[in-house]
């Protein structure tokens, strides 16, 4: 039996202590990017012999490097793209040296693959941007640098490759560096470095250069081994976004998460968002023993001194250092889906272990990644980037992405396809003057009133009644989804029109597609939506016109608000009294979607629907033929229409 040499023990002990650097390489095949990575892997002895022999075989079949070994073939994983000779996705590579472990996110450089570059950059500490010394700074270089800066990477290395083709000339290198510096100073990258290399010849990659005596800096690998990254994380703002509530038995309640930022300490007073309840950290638990403090990116479990109701998505913070707690914010958005954005559709937003619905309030601009020019657009296509205003259904707890990568990033998920359609980086909450117009407080309302002078109307109500032979009145139909409201409304409109009445029909789909298109179906937004409808109806009634309003209007307080706006004397409430079973049969698609969890906020199902206290008429959808007649008789009796 042999004993392992002492070397292996010291190797393993040293290996155990190495830290991890995640880096991104950006550039196209033409820049020699794959060759660079292949070299780093090869020279750090990571390439095994059999992979090498397969490589030699493949090089002869589809290689683009002639008779030499094509290092790029090591990297292209999937069959189709190997044959096409392009890399179409992010591939992750692993190698280690005596000092550090490395994960390379290898992303392609083509314009259409912004999406992949953004993906690779999202987890990287450092980016190597490759430049061809014979071409200098090109559009693609600027695009890569912009994306790297947008994704908050703090260290950039400009690798000026193919120095062998320009005779290792210092002048070429200096000129490229100067041009690049002028560009990158406009962006927000704190640490920029320049290294001349030849990936093909292996020059200045691992060993210091001998062919460029004018260069006194580190070789590529020396630099990657020594760049200081541990202080890049945010250790200032403690954020613990609860991921999982651990309840093995009734006596134990632990809250598990990865520390997103800051230092969480035993004995410190904390606050829980959104409840704002406070307590003290009792223990920080791990399988390997309790800790006095934990820091990002550790995954731990904490317990509290007090029993507070906390669930997944809540955030534990220190009371003197709170994140933003907002529903409205601005973000840079990258559209990742083949299907273009539909700004009217609501999506799911996943952020810090929290999922909520979100809608687009506004697209501020689109930014062209090549020219950095801004332009106004009404939607985004795949790989497009821009600044947007978003509103979530419930408040989220965030920090600007620049300050905090973990609490400033989110993804958007399509509620039907479930694809990740976009990703975003939060800029900040929205300034109050820029908030969507629907948010109006009492003060502003009073101030507005004093500014507006009402003109004097020269047409009297009596004159209008005589002209139209009707009284300006609202027929408001309430009832569940699928109760037959709209059917009744349209039939009634037709009958009234045929008999000579002047009538306007207002229903959910017509108002929501325009006037209320930024509102959702939450109770708050529903109230705002109906407030708008009530005001339209009032204006029309003022002009002597009959309105038929078909809206669920699920609760008494909303209806009272509507009555107050329109006026009790000309408001008539029709209640479509349909059972939930009837509605489900009548509108099966909607209720199926609800059952599958695709939609929410359905009155009568997950939201309450209160039966009106004093409706003018109660109709049953089963009496379809009779219902219109009942209303017409009622209108005639009260001389709403016809008056004579």
């Amino acid at each position: 039996m042999t004993t392992p040499t002492l070397d292996i023990y010291s190797y393993l002990d040293q290996d155990e202590k190495k830290d991890l650097l995640r880096l991104l390489t950006a550039g196209s095949v033409d820049d020699g990017k794959s060759t660079l990575i292949g070299r780093l892997l090869f020279d750090s002895k990571k390439i095994y012999e059999d992979q090498l022999s397969a490589l030699e075989r493949d090089s002869k079949r589809v290689g683009h490097a002639g008779e030499e070994i094509d290092y790029a073939l090591l990297l292209d994983g999937l069959k189709a793209e190997r044959e096409q000779g392009i890399t179409i996705d992010v591939a992750y590579r692993y190698f280690s040296t005596n000092k550090r472990k490395f994960i390379i996110a290898d992303t392609p450089g083509h314009t259409q693959y912004t999406r992949n570059m953004v993906t690779g950059a999202s987890t990287a500490n450092l980016a190597i941007i490759l430049i061809d010394a014979t071409k200098g700074v090109i559009t693609q270089t600027r695009r890569h640098t912009f994306l790297v800066s947008m994704l908050g990477i703090k260290h950039v290395v400009l690798a000026v490759n193919k120095m062998d083709l320009v005779n290792y000339d210092q002048k070429v290198f200096d000129e490229i560096c100067a041009e690049y510096k002028a560009f990158i100073t406009q962006l927000d990258v704190p640490d920029v470095n320049f290294i001349p290399i030849s990936a093909l010849k292996g020059e200045n990659l691992v060993e210091p250069t001998t062919l460029m005596p004018w260069y006194h800096g580190k070789s590529m690998l020396e630099f990657l081994e020594s760049v200081h990254i541990s202080s890049d994380r945010n250790f200032d703002d403690m954020r613990f976004p609860v991921q999982y509530v651990l309840r093995p038995d009734l006596d134990f309640r632990g809250f598990s998460a990865r520390v997103a930022s800051g230092i969480i300490r035993k004995g410190e007073k904390i606050m829980v968002l959104p409840s704002r309840k406070t307590s003290t950290i009792k223990e920080i638990i791990t399988y390997d023993g309790n800790l006095d403090e934990a820091f990002p990116p550790q995954s731990v479990t904490i317990t509290l001194e007090d029993e507070i109701d906390i669930s997944r998505g809540d955030m534990i913070v220190y009371p003197d250092n709170l994140p933003r707690v907002e529903r409205h914010f601005e973000a840079m958005l990258v559209w990742m889906d083949e299907k273009p954005m539909d700004p009217c559709v609501q999506l799911f937003l996943k952020h810090a272990n929290n999922t909520t619905r979100v809608r687009f309030d506004k697209i501020q601009y689109k930014i062209d990644v090549n020219s950095l020019q801004k332009s106004s657009v009404n939607h985004f296509e795949l790989n497009e980037i821009g600044r947007v205003v978003l509103t979530t259904n419930k408040a989220i707890f965030f920090d600007p992405y620049k300050k905090n990568r973990s609490t400033g990033s989110f993804i958007l998920i399509d509620p039907i396809t479930h694809n990740t359609v976009a990703v975003g980086m939060i800029i900040d909450k929205l300034n109050s003057e820029d908030l969507p117009s629907k948010i109006v407080d009492e003060k502003t309302l009073e101030a507005n009133k004093s500014l507006i002078h009402r003109g004097e109307c020269l047409v009297s109500d009596a004159q209008r009644e005589k002209r139209y032979n009707q009284k300006g009145t609202t027929i408001w139909i309430t009832g569940l989804h699928g109760s037959g409201k709209n059917e009744l409304a349209f039939t009634l409109e037709k009958e009234l029109f045929d008999q000579g009445a002047t009538v306007v029909l207002l229903d959910g789909s017509s108002i929501r597609s325009g006037l209320s298109n930024e509102l959702d179906f939450s109770p708050a937004d529903r109230a705002e939506h109906l407030r708008r409808v009530a005001h339209i109806s009032k204006l029309l009634n003022d002009q002597g016109i009959i309105t038929i309003c078909s809206f669920i209007s699920p609760d008494e307080s909303i209806r009272k608000q509507v009555i107050q706006i329109i006026g009790e004397d000309r408001f008539n409430l029709i209640y479509m009294d349909a059972s939930l079973e009837f509605c489900k049969k009548n509108k099966p698609e909607l209720y199926e979607k609800f059952e599958q969890g695709l939609i929410e906020n359905i009155p009568g199902a997950d939201l309450p629907f209160t039966v009106p206290e004093n409706p003018t008429l109660v109709l049953k959808p089963e009496n379809r033929a009779q219902n219109t007649k009942t209303i017409l008789e009622y209108m005639a009796d009260l001389k709403i229409f016809p008056i004579v």
Binding site: P4, Y48, K79, T123, Y244, S299, I411, H418
Partner: protein, 302 residues
């Protein structure tokens, strides 16, 4: 100033625990696929860590091809019992009873029926909506682009062209009924990381990984161990005792041993650093055709 910095292994561990907890929080019915191999052993320990001091809220499932090494099955049952795991063992029983096996049907048919089909059958039977696997991106080229949350359609198929973008550590866990996600919490670990972790955490592994004198038959250059009497007699007759160990574990007739003296983890690592053959070459199934792993993944194999 205190330096708040983690070693690479502690960072990978924190990442894996985060992923495992996310699945437990987001899915109704997850399962951890357990191959009894070293990577699975690491993954299982990570799950135990993720929910400590509580119990892991999902079961383990082993797809038993009925041709695993006997030592694997013994190790599996002991581990599950000692550590209180809920263990599901699933096999394609109808095919087994019909006599499907590697000696009679060849490696391709056997693997497809007893591994891939059995896996799909097991996942469907229990209606699992998420399944953890211990695959690593550095194992094989087609895995380098695999997501951590890898979406599968209702036929359990993987579409490499249609993968969901995966950024930061935010994972999209939404699936429709019948669709599922395969989750790879140790995606970013290398083979060395796995051995180092087993060494530091003193994780028990199947003794087959360590060198020992074993009855070996040389089949076209593959060193196959005689593990039971189902090996054809004329083949088994050629067996001789050789000092070998296994770099990967699977069905015994399809898993080649390597000649080795390495009987401790340190010696294994030393051997790994000096021997230049990557680990999957000892699995016979990969040789079929170039890109064969990609093909298998499309069909639903891990």
């Amino acid at each position: 100033m205190t330096e708040y910095s983690l070693s690479h292994l502690k960072e990978l561990e924190a990442e894996a625990i985060h992923i495992i907890r996310e699945v437990a929080a987001e899915f109704e019915n997850p399962v951890m696929l357990y191959s009894i191999g070293k990577d699975s052993s690491v993954m299982v320990r990570l799950a135990e860590k993720a929910f400590y001091p509580g119990k892991v809220p999902f079961p383990l499932m082993h797809i038993d091809s009925k041709w695993k090494f006997r030592e694997m099955v013994e190790f599996r049952d002991n581990y599950a019992k000692e550590n209180g795991w809920n263990l599901i063992v699933h096999s394609n029983m109808s095919a087994f009873e019909a006599g499907v096996g590697p000696f009679t049907h060849g490696s391709k048919v056997h693997t497809d029926i007893m591994k891939t089909q059995a896996l799909l059958e097991g996942l469907s039977k229990y209606k699992f909506d998420a399944a953890f696997g211990g695959a690593r991106r550095d194992e094989e080229k087609s895995r380098a682009k695999e997501r951590i949350f890898s979406f599968r359609d209702k036929f359990h198929q993987w579409d490499p062209k249609n993968q969901r973008p995966e950024l930061w550590d935010i994972y999209n866990a939404r699936v429709h009924k019948g669709e599922s996600i395969r989750v790879f919490p140790i995606s970013n670990w290398t083979e060395l990381d796995v051995w180092q972790y087993i060494r530091l955490e003193k994780i028990p592994i199947v003794p087959l990984y360590f060198a020992k004198e074993r009855p070996i038959v040389n089949v076209d250059g593959n060193l196959i161990m005689v593990d039971d009497d189902r090996m054809p007699k004329e083949m088994a007759a050629k067996a001789e005792m050789r000092m070998v160990r296994f770099r990967t574990l699977g069905c015994y007739p399809l898993t080649g041993a390597v000649e080795s003296e390495a009987d401790t983890i340190e010696k294994i690592v030393e051997e790994m650093m000096t021997v230049t053959v990557s680990e999957r070459t000892t699995r016979v199934i990969d040789f079929d055709q170039d890109g064969s792993m990609e093909q298998k993944k499309r069909e639903g194999y891990f």
